[in-house]
Amino acid sequence: MKVAVSVTNLVKTFGSFVANDNLNFEVYKGEIFGFLGANGAGKTTAIKILCGLQRPTSGEVKVAGFDIYKQTELIKKNIGYMSQKFSLYDDLTIQENIRFYGGIYGLSNEEIKSKTEQYIRELELEEYVKSMVAALPLGIKQKLAFSVAVIHSPQIVFLDEPTSGVDPITRRQFWEMIYAEANKGRTIFVTTHYMDEAEYCHRVSIMVDGIIEALDTPTQLKKTFKAESMEEVFIQLARKSTRVD
């Protein structure tokens, strides 16, 4: 299998605090990889490093084949990113947001025009075309944000709690979009607090206090930890945390 992300002995410290303590893992092309952990376990730090926004203290990291120390600009061109907190500009319209992100990633005017038409059609946004993104229902906004995050056909897309607060039907439509993208060969790196969504991932890692405590398919993790659900697996592992939170 082709490797999309490889992490070897990754360490990140802030003063005496060890945010990431010797992480080792690989994510494969076309894989939906769930990156789970309790609040404060070190997920955000690791994601920032993988996106080329922060340098590790030590270790080797390659994202989309590029080196995290020397090729961060190439990494940024080859990844997409969205989160619940930051995705689209509220005070721009749908079309303006698409044009903005398309422009940033160097798409031609033709491409931007066709992407705009495609997204409006596929996500059934006709009635919202003229409205500011702030006026969109959260679920629609998040589906659009995901489309925009892959506008430049990145090899890997990072999704940081993309479905928090989204209604259950739209949440599933969002995951159907994720499956469709993964099926095209795009790698999906996703965090979530919804444990049913952990079951949708091909493989899941669970971080506790800066260490990856478990990494496997959901089926295998449930076997290993003799658990009925991923929620039980998560609770067994995260309860071990000794960090004050």
């Binding site: 609040n39 619940q84 709690e161 607060g165 989204v166 607090h193 609770i235 945390s241 939170d245």
Partner: protein, 304 residues
């Protein structure tokens, strides 16, 4: 007949053209742990702000512990504790200063009501000189809850206390609520996590400013109107797309490691399995299952 702690009658609220609440009516009993369950934008926060007298409804009335939110707001505010969705304590004051401040505003002292917050506050007391802004998420939440309880309210409002919180901390938070409920406090909580509904005595399922259903979680689940199946196959994505092409399928959607499936009336699961096998779907497993709150919520959303 149980005493009513809260009576909400025909409450509506608009922001310009946006309808936040549309003719909401609901009652909460004294000592009840009551949940408003719904996604972002369903109107939960508007309703909480109205119930705590921070926002006036356009129409309708709300009475909380005998006080009308409109005329009797001064009385009402002494009786309710409110923990808003966003951390709203003083970031540049210490843990202890925040708690002292809230006790002082309500003309009481930490010592007088310490027993009410002891279980929760003692977990953050070692950090009482730390500024609130420097606390971790879990500690902020415990401080906010302590501050909402220090004046001995009869009704506690918690607006999305567990949003963005990991599964372990969420579990611990609900354990804290169960303890508070034992002391007779009426607790109103909102959450977008459907699985948390099961931890409430009764819930109102909310969507787009309306209440879809009010009942105990058990009743809601029992009233699911269809036979529900779980189904899985070797390639779940292929199965998901294939199921969409069948006329006999009422609904099918991802649910954990399976899909959940409801057939239209008069159709048999064995016929569906046979057709799926003919379409090249391998390793099909199905089971008859009971609905969860989330299944019910989605069914109600589709009906409305």
């Amino acid at each position: 007949m149980m005493n009513k702690s809260i009576s909400i009658t025909n409450v509506s609220k608009h922001y310009g053209d946006v309808v936040a609440l549309d003719q909401i009516s609901c009652t909460v009993n004294e000592g009840e742990l009551f949940g408003f369950i719904g996604p972002d934008g369903s109107g939960k926060t508007s309703l909480f702000r109205i119930m705590t007298s921070l926002l006036l409804p356009d129409s309708g009335s709300v009475i909380v512990d005998g006080s009308n939110v409109d005329q009797d707001y001064k009385e009402l505010r002494k009786k309710v504790g409110y923990m808003p969705g966003h951390f709203s304590l003083y970031q540049d004051m210490s843990v202890e200063e925040n708690l002292k401040f809230f006790a002082g505003v309500f003309k009481t002292t930490i010592a007088e009501n310490y027993h009410l917050i002891e279980d929760i506050y003692k977990q953050i007391e070692p950090f009482k000189h730390r500024r609130a802004g420097k606390l971790s998420g879990g500690m902020k939440q415990k401080l906010a809850l302590s501050c909402a309880l220090i004046h001995k309210p009869t009704v506690l409002f918690l607006d999305e206390p567990t949003t963005g919180v990991d599964a372990v901390s969420r579990k611990e938070f609900w354990e804290m609520l169960a303890k508070l409920k034992k002391d007779g406090l009426t607790i109103i909580v909102s959450t977008p996590y459907m699985d948390e509904a099961a931890l409430c005595d009764r819930v109102a399922l909310m969507q787009k400013g309306r209440i879809l259903s009010i009942d105990s979680p058990d009743h809601i689940v029992q009233n699911f109107p269809h036979q529900l199946y779980s189904i899985k196959a070797k390639d779940i994505y292929k199965l998901m797309n294939e199921l969409k092409t069948f006329d006999s399928v009422h609904s099918s959607y991802l649910f954990g490691e399976h899909l959940h499936l409801v057939l239209k009336k008069g159709n048999q699961i064995k016929d569906l399995i046979f057709s799926l096998q003919n379409s090249g779907i391998e390793e099909i497993e199905t089971a008859e299952i009971s609905a969860t709150i989330e299944d019910c919520f989605m069914e109600l959303m589709q009906e409305s």
